[in-house]
């Protein structure tokens, strides 16, 4: 029976928390094992819920359900707590928000991607914007800080541990404020898990900060100089930004892996993230294969929107890279300016010392002091240039790469669909041949085959449409975030520039009377 087959597909589903969020206040958790046990309700492994919006339409039943059973499951789910109702706590928000009748997860996500056919991601047809708007205030109720980098261990096995502090009022977390210690590979591990789960169905998963073998080696070796301190600080800030971006994403916020990362004190070591590990090499090989595939897939783009957007992102990518390069040059030159100003200050001080006219000597010493202060200003400004402006640009260049990745996955999805169609056609032809040859024994098999592949084709089409839909929403969200981000950061940067100028004015105003007083 198809359902059995369905079940088999889900055999490797991992038990996962099953939750529901209502206005971000209530968390509804139920053991998933019950899900699996109920024969009529196979469920995808991780079921991150999403904030239910004011839209009382509720989640539409999943369209992607090839199996009747499944459809039933979700049809039920839209009404009330389904499946495991006996085991679940009643989901009744105290304030009874005007909205949400559906108590069940609004977003279901396929489990870790297997090489077999993907269990369809079931995403309820809810306007993402609505969800976000309504939940905006609540989603932002997660504040993440990455702090206190600490060196653990010695020699080449040493690593930096960072404290990740979460402050939240969302009830899906066990506490309101908690912190854990994480190392860099943990972050990479988190990203890797999220990427596996979400990218192929169209979600833009924020990329993790990049590895740096050189930087880390310096830290490990124990060089206590300013460049390794700078490196650690840069990494700390990048990790913080990474987590903040991730939790801003409504879907990713629900993910149990993310929660585990933020909450649990012990985390299994993510060895697969090591660059030179077996998994790392496999990743590289896959990436290369992907690149080749991308070139060979000629997609019949029926939707002009996607083409347009891809082009836009290409352009944006180019422009951002150019700007990023310019800003990096600026940082470099400002550092040079700072060094040269400091050198000049010293030289002016020496000159002042050797000047035998007292008033002039004093004025020159004052000049030296002013220049020293200005050198400080330049240093601070260079740091601001970098940490505020340049890093933002770098982040967005990587984010756009992630966006492009999502578009690529859509292409792959489409390819899969097309391939399924081709095979279906072949199976049909085979069956027709068998019929002519009058081989009843094999005919049954052929008919089964056809049925199987028809299903796959349907599934493929649904998957593709789902991915396309998700991408549309994701891109819109991304654009909104981008606009906000850039505006905030640029304004912040300009304010820093204002401060620098104000300080400059202060210093020169202090010097002017000294200069005038040279007799």
């Amino acid at each position: 029976m198809a359902s059995e087959r369905e079940l088999s597909l889900l055999a490797d589903v991992r038990p996962v928390d099953f939750e529901v969020l209502e206005d971000g206040k209530n968390v509804f958790v139920s053991p998933v094992s019950t899900l699996e046990s109920s024969p009529s309700s196979p469920e995808p492994a991780s079921l991150p819920a999403e904030d239910l919006s004011t839209n009382s339409n509720g989640p539409k039943p999943a369209e992607v359900m090839p199996d009747d059973d499944r459809e039933d499951l979700f049809a039920e789910a839209t009404e009330e707590v389904s499946l495991d109702s006996p085991e679940r706590d009643p989901v009744l928000p105290p304030e009874s928000p005007p909205v949400i009748t559906p108590v069940t997860p609004t977003t279901l996500v396929a489990p870790r991607m297997e090489l077999r056919s993907v269990t369809a991601p079931v995403i309820f047809d809810r306007s993402r914007e609505e969800i976000e708007e309504e939940a905006n205030g609540h989603l932002l109720d997660v504040e993440i800080n990455v702090s206190d980098p600490e060196k653990v261990g010695d020699g080449m096995n040493a690593y930096m541990a960072y404290r990740v502090t979460t402050k939240t009022s969302l009830s899906m977390f066990h506490k309101n404020e908690f912190s854990v210690k994480r190392r860099f590979s943990d972050f990479l591990g988190l990203h890797s898990k999220l990427a596996t789960k979400y990218i192929h169905i169209g979600y833009i998963v924020p990329p993790a900060p990049e590895k740096s073998i050189v930087g880390m080696t310096k830290v490990k070796v124990g060089k206590e100089d300013s460049s390794s301190a700078e490196f650690v600080e840069k990494r700390r800030a990048a990790l913080e930004r990474y987590l903040q971006r991730t939790v801003k994403h409504p879907t990713l916020l629900q993910d149990p892996d993310l929660r585990q990362f933020l909450e649990s004190s012990e985390l299994p070591r993510a060895v697969n993230t090591q660059a030179l590990s077996g998994a790392g090499i496999l990743r590289m090989v896959n990436k290369a294969a992907d690149a080749v595939n991308k070139m060979t897939i000629k997609m019949n783009e029926s939707d002009a929107w996607f083409e347009e957007k891809q082009q836009q992102f290409e352009n944006l990518d180019q422009q951002l890279r150019k700007l990023h390069a310019s800003v990096e040059t600026l940082v470099c030159h400002r550092k040079e300016l700072s060094a040269n100003t400091a050198a000049f200050a010293k030289s002016a001080a020496m000159l002042g010392n050797s000047e035998d006219h007292t008033a002039l000597s004093r004025a020159l010493s004052q000049l030296a002091e002013v220049e020293e202060k200005i050198d400080q200003l330049h240093q601070e400004q260079a740091f601001a240039d970098f940490s505020v402006f340049s890093e933002l640009l770098g982040d967005y260049i990587r984010l756009i790469a992630a966006v492009k990745g999502v578009f690529d996955h859509r292409m792959k999805c489409w390819q899969k669909w097309q391939d399924a169609q081709v095979i279906l056609q072949k199976k049909r032809e085979a069956e027709a041949k068998l019929q002519l040859a009058n081989r009843p024994d094999k005919q049954q098999q052929a008919k089964d085959d056809i049925k199987e592949w028809e299903t796959k084709v349907q599934q493929g089409e649904k998957d593709f449409e789902q991915v396309s839909k998700t991408i549309r929403e994701e891109v819109q969200r991304f654009e909104r975030e981008r606009v906000k981000d850039f505006k905030t950061v640029i304004i912040k940067y300009l304010e820093l520039l204002v401060q620098t100028q104000q300080q400059l004015i202060k210093h020169w105003e202090a010097f002017l009377p000294e200069a005038k007083s040279i007799a």
Binding site: K322, L351, Q501
Partner: protein, 438 residues
């Protein structure tokens, strides 16, 4: 340099005139007309019109007034139009102009240095050779790279480089002019015959640049001189004043050299930062025109801000260059000239002492006494003459130096303030617009 000319002012002015001198226009601030510059790839010649520049306001002002009224930049030569106004009887006319090149300035300077009569004076340092090579190279590179950048970028960079060329040109004219003004202001040097020829003779002076042989001779002369200088400086001076001056000048000269180099580096860095703002502004502009979301207006406004702020930063760099770097460079040269004066004096002291010893020897042997006496007399007179004028010169040097530093430091601070305030206003108004938008 340009400060130099007007620094002569306070020196010789009476109290009442001093106020007027301060208000005189300084060369650097004077605008200069320039004809439209041709495309960088072709060799350019441009005429620069300098307005009334340094006015060396001396009591004997009407007697001799020199300035460079015009300058022409050709291939690898710069032609200066030296304009003189004089009521002195030495000259045929009251007002006249000649065209001179850099080599002729050098010839004049060298003739002063070689003149024994002027051994007791600080010879105004020769102006540095006009050097447009770097600027020309940049313009050429720009011309070659024209295809690789957008039209706006190209225009922007071209304007910048042209401004740079103009600035260098103005500077070299100013430095040549300052040299002439210093000579004209000096009570003794202004009477020099060579100087009058330089000012009046309207044909080519046929002063060729030194050929290889002469350059080699110069090189050896310098080596001998510095070796000698070391020996001579070992002689302790009887006069406290000069002893002090010598120690002071040696140290001062070295430190000014260092400060001048560091100041140069600093102003160049400043210019680099300004250039970066330019590129960032262009990138932001491109982002703004391409973006489809409402952030495009935002980008365009910020791009505009960067363009404007860049101009200010470039001005800061230029002003620092003018008021600080050039000041230090000039005093580097002046302090060298002062050192040369001290050397000549020490030399003459050594000669005097040697003559004394020779005289004693002659008297002891009773041979050639008269000759030895005459030599000794000459040396003595020479030494005393030099000492006397040197003392005055060094005192004047100090006064000039203090006044120049004061003027430039004050102007530097005022300009820095002006630019910082301008920048601040730009940033604040931009922020107001951006915040209002969002």
């Amino acid at each position: 340099m340009m400060q130099e000319g007007s620094d002569d002012g306070p020196d010789f002015l009476s109290e009442e005139d001093r106020g007027a001198a301060e208000a005189l226009p300084v060369m650097t601030a004077g605008p200069s007309r320039c004809s439209h510059l041709k495309k960088p790839s072709r060799e350019r010649s441009s005429r620069w019109d300098m307005l009334r520049a340094i006015n060396v306001d001396l009591q004997t002002d009407a007697a001799l007034q020199v300035d460079i009224s015009d300058a022409l930049s050709e291939r690898d030569k710069v032609k200066f139009t030296v304009h003189t106004k004089s009521s002195l009887p030495n000259f045929k006319q009251n007002e006249f102009s000649v065209v001179r090149q850099h080599e002729e300035f050098i010839w004049l300077h060298d003739s002063f240095v070689e003149n024994e009569d002027y051994a007791g004076y600080i010879i105004p340092p020769a102006p540095p050779r006009p050097d447009f090579d770097a600027s020309r190279e940049k313009l050429q590179k720009l011309g070659e790279g024209e295809g690789s950048m957008t039209k706006e970028e190209f225009t922007k960079m071209k304007q910048e480089l042209e401004a740079e060329y103009l600035a260098i040109f103005k500077k070299t004219v100013a430095m040549h002019e300052v040299f002439l003004c210093r000579v004209a202001a000096h009570p003794i040097l202004r009477k020099d015959l060579n100087f009058h020829v330089f000012l009046e003779y309207n044909q080519d002076l046929s002063v060729r640049g030194k050929n290889k042989k002469e350059k080699l001779e110069d090189f050896f002369k310098n080596m001998v001189k510095s070796a000698d200088g070391v020996i001579v400086s070992g002689v302790k001076d009887v006069d406290d004043f000069f002893e002090h001056e010598r120690t002071f000048l040696v140290e001062y000269h070295n430190r000014v050299k260092d400060a001048s180099a560091k100041s140069d580096k600093m102003t160049r860095s400043h210019k680099n930062v300004a250039d970066d703002y330019n590129r960032i502004g262009s990138s932001l502009y491109a982002l703004g025109t391409q973006d489809s979301t409402d952030i495009c207006k935002f980008f365009l406004k910020v791009s505009e801000l960067f363009d404007k702020t860049r101009k200010i930063e470039a001005r800061v760099s230029a002003d620092e260059d003018l008021k600080l770097s050039d000041l230090l460079k000039y005093y580097l040269r002046e302090s060298q000239a002062a050192k040369d004066l001290l050397y000549r004096r020490s030399r003459s002291l050594v000669d005097y002492e040697n003559a004394n010893k020779a005289l004693d020897k002659a008297r002891a042997k009773n041979k050639d006494v008269l000759q030895a006496e005459t030599t000794q007399q000459i040396c003595c007179q020479k030494f005393e003459k030099i000492s006397e004028s040197a003392k005055q010169e060094l005192i004047d040097f100090k006064t000039r130096r203090v006044a120049a530093f004061r003027k430039n430091l004050v102007e530097l601070a005022e300009l820095e303030l002006k630019h910082a305030k301008g920048n601040l206003q730009l940033l604040q108004s931009c922020l107001a617009v951006l915040n209002g938008d969002t």
